[in-house]
């Protein structure tokens, strides 16, 4: 077979069918090996592709042949040992795969952390003897090395924090049987404690100690002391940008302490749990996992899936099914009550009355915002007052809005300041038989018609105190 795929396409196929590598990495971790046996790869591919369509099957099988993987650089070495062929996969590929699946994270053990610390100390020692000259290749190499080590360490720890945060699910799994069989609880508890203590002692505690700035180590400085010493060295030699970068890295590392501490606390809580508490814990975890699955469905590539679809979930628990929504104020454009019609007709009557006086409608002189004469103003207001004099009004809870509706679009040249003048007039001399009551509630009016000539002020607002127009008492009674 001469057909082969490019590195990009091979990688793409691997991520389209990630289960193959997930399983291989899992096996690698289980055997604590750094290689994949070729026979395992072939078996895994065969097994996985059985259910695919023919075209897909051929494509995946071809892409995952040893030859194709090697030539595309994803397998970096093939070793023949003990009668089998072992493939060493590209580290970057494995790390990416681990990033896609939390359960593939490798737990940090004390030994691995110690290894990192020793390398960092080594870098520091070399830095002390370094020339700090950009021209010296030894120094620039050392600097690159330092950057890489630190970012590797941060990446590793971050992955582990993520992994540790899924610990609650792990607990639920470990203790799942306890909540169901009360008679075996004691024996079970003993086992469980052992497992959890192992987890705690081997992984969580070392990480916590590693990241604690106050830790004293018998064999030398701790992580933060080492980093700090390097920052000081770099500052001393004027390499401020690298010093700052290293300082920020140490801040990031320091920040990782807290989440791990939270996990450690949770472990402690868990160990103290009674049976009842454990059942509750597991029940919550069980249903929360379901919820998380729903959330997972919203994280696919489809942009339309933004909301949780909880119909099935809700019905499975059955709690409060069919509960009403909170009523929001509805905007009724039409109503069918008698009061609605009465209001409609009285409004129509008033508008008709306005139209009958159409001939008398004053044309208010158009004025720009500034530079007008007081004389013009007085004239305008007088015209407006004459119109108001004969304006018929009905009792209303919001006189300002009502007035605005009657003037806006009906009287040419009408502006918000005119409304203010009109209101002043009505408050001081209310129409006969009416009284104006000023309330302390504020409302806002917005002009819908943008002034054509001044495009920049497209939206004016008029903030006012709500005023009621009411019939006076004696009028009200007859």
């Amino acid at each position: 077979m001469s057909k082969r795929f490019s590195t990009l396409d091979t990688t793409r196929l691997l991520f389209d069918h990630p289960k193959i590598l997930f399983r291989l990495i899992e096996r690698m971790d289980r055997n604590e090996a750094r290689y994949v046996r070729e026979s395992d790869l072939v078996a895994e591919v065969m097994d996985y592709t059985r259910t695919l369509s023919k075209a897909d099957r051929d494509r995946v099988r071809l892409a995952l042949t040893t030859d194709n993987l090697f030539r595309s650089g994803l397998v970096i070495d093939i070793i023949k040992a003990e009668g089998e062929r072992r493939l060493i996969l590209q580290d970057a590929l494995i790390n990416l795969m681990r990033a896609c699946n939390a359960s593939l994270y490798q737990e940090l053990t004390d030994a691995r952390l110690r290894g990192h610390l020793v390398t960092l100390r080594d870098v520091r020692n070399r830095l002390e003897l370094s020339s700090f000259s950009e021209a010296d290749p030894n120094f620039t190499e050392l600097r690159d090395d330092l950057n890489e080590r630190v970012s590797q360490l941060i990446g590793l720890l971050r992955q582990n924090v993520l992994r540790m945060q899924t610990i609650s699910a792990q607990f639920a799994e470990l203790s799942g049987d306890a909540s169901r069989a009360p008679d075996k609880y004691l024996e079970f508890r003993q086992n469980l404690l052992e497992q959890i203590v192992t987890l705690y002692e081997r992984h969580i505690k070392p990480t916590l100690v590693f990241l604690n700035p106050d830790t004293r180590l018998p064999d030398g400085s701790n992580l933060f002391e080492t980093l700090e010493a390097m920052v000081r060295l770099l500052e001393h030699h004027g390499d401020h940008s690298l010093a700052d970068q290293l300082f920020r890295s140490s801040l990031s590392l320091n920040a990782l302490y807290k989440p791990i501490q939270a996990v450690a606390q949770e472990v402690e809580h868990f160990l103290r749990k009674t049976r009842r508490g454990m059942v509750q814990y597991n029940a919550m975890e069980h249903f929360y996992t379901k919820l998380r699955e729903l959330k997972g469905e919203t994280e696919t590539l489809s942009l339309r899936r933004k909301w949780l679809e909880g119909g099935n979930f809700a019905r499975s628990t059955g709690f409060l099914i069919g509960l009403r929504a909170q009523q929001r104020p509805k905007h009724h454009a039409f109503g069918n009550s008698s009061s609605y019609y009465r209001l409609l007709f009285s409004e129509l009557d008033l508008r008709l009355a306005d139209l009958r006086r159409k001939a008398e409608v004053p044309v208010l002189q158009e004025v720009a915002g500034s530079g007008r004469h007081a004389r013009v103003d007085v004239q305008r207001i007088n015209q407006l007052y004459q119109w108001l004099e004969a304006l018929e009004l009905r009792p209303t809870t919001d006189l300002v809005r009502e007035l605005h509706g009657r003037l806006d679009g009906f009287i040419p040249g009408y502006r918000f300041p005119d409304l203010l003048a009109a209101l002043n007039r009505l408050v001081n001399t209310p129409p006969e038989g009416f009284q104006v009551i000023t309330t302390n509630r504020f409302r806002t009016l917005e002009s819908e018609l943008a002034p054509a000539e001044s495009a920049e002020i497209s939206n004016e607002q008029f903030v006012y105190r709500k005023r009621r127009l009411e019939l006076t008492a004696e009028n009200h009674h007859d």
Binding site: S168, S179, R180, E266, E268, H269, F270, R272, K273, R276, G277, V279, Q280, Y281, N282, A283, M284, E285, H286, F287, Y288, L291, R292, L294, K295, T298, K306, W307, L308, E309, G310, G311, F313, A314, R315, T317, F319, L320, I321, G322, L323, R324, A325, Q326, Q327
Partner: protein
């Protein structure tokens, strides 16, 4: 000495006669607002749980109200263990929206329950006015990104405060202080039910 002309005096006693219209109207308003009627509610002035008179009205005239709401096309659901009533919209339209409110309530309650259980406390404390969720709990829950994502995906754009408000308005949770909350009997019932269901599975 009955007036033979007045037909009303001869009509059989109606179950409506036993109930004050004001009570009935108040109940209707509660249900219309999507609220659950619980046996005890939190009196923030006296800082204690007090008996809910409306609950007693419902409880004492259960069959009347069942029939009454049936005529209005709803189902009055009484939950004895959780001591609460709620009004179920006619169940023949099994639309998505039908379950939406229930689901949102459930999501928030579950998040609270899970948070509480993880913090190592017995869930019973969630329903006690002197315990419940405190300021630190609210801060911790608010800082959890996964919870925020879930709340947002359940259409609580403003996160935890909005979600708590949503439960508060429905009497599933009470606010016992500036930033203190505890669950009502109805809210507790849901969590207890989850535990029961899990145990029996």
């Amino acid at each position: 000495m009955t007036d033979p002309i007045n037909p009303l005096s001869h009509s059989p006693a109606s179950s409506f006669d036993d109930i004050l219209p004001a009570h009935s109207a108040a109940l209707y308003r509660e249900f219309q607002a999507g609220r659950v009627v619980v046996r005890e509610f939190w009196d923030s002035n006296r800082s204690e749980l007090v008996a809910n008179p409306l609950y007693n009205v419902l409880y004492n005239h259960l069959s009347h109200f069942r029939t009454f709401y049936e005529h209005l096309g709803c189902e009055l659901v009484f939950n004895e263990n959780g001591s609460f009533f709620f009004l179920k919209e006619s169940s023949d339209d099994e639309t998505e929206e039908h379950d939406e409110n229930a689901f949102r309530v459930q999501v928030v309650l579950l998040l609270i329950g899970r948070y509480f259980a993880r913090s190592g406390r017995d869930l019973d404390y969630l329903g006690r006015p002197d315990a419940g969720l405190g300021e630190q709990d609210l801060a911790a829950m608010g800082a959890d990104e996964e919870y925020q994502d879930i709340l947002r995906a359940a259409r609580f754009d403003k996160g935890l405060p909005e979600a708590l408000e949503y439960l508060d308005k429905r009497n599933l949770l009470f606010r016992s202080g500036a930033s203190r909350y505890f669950l009502s009997s109805a809210g507790m019932y849901f969590l207890e039910e989850l535990v029961r269901e899990y145990e029996q599975a």
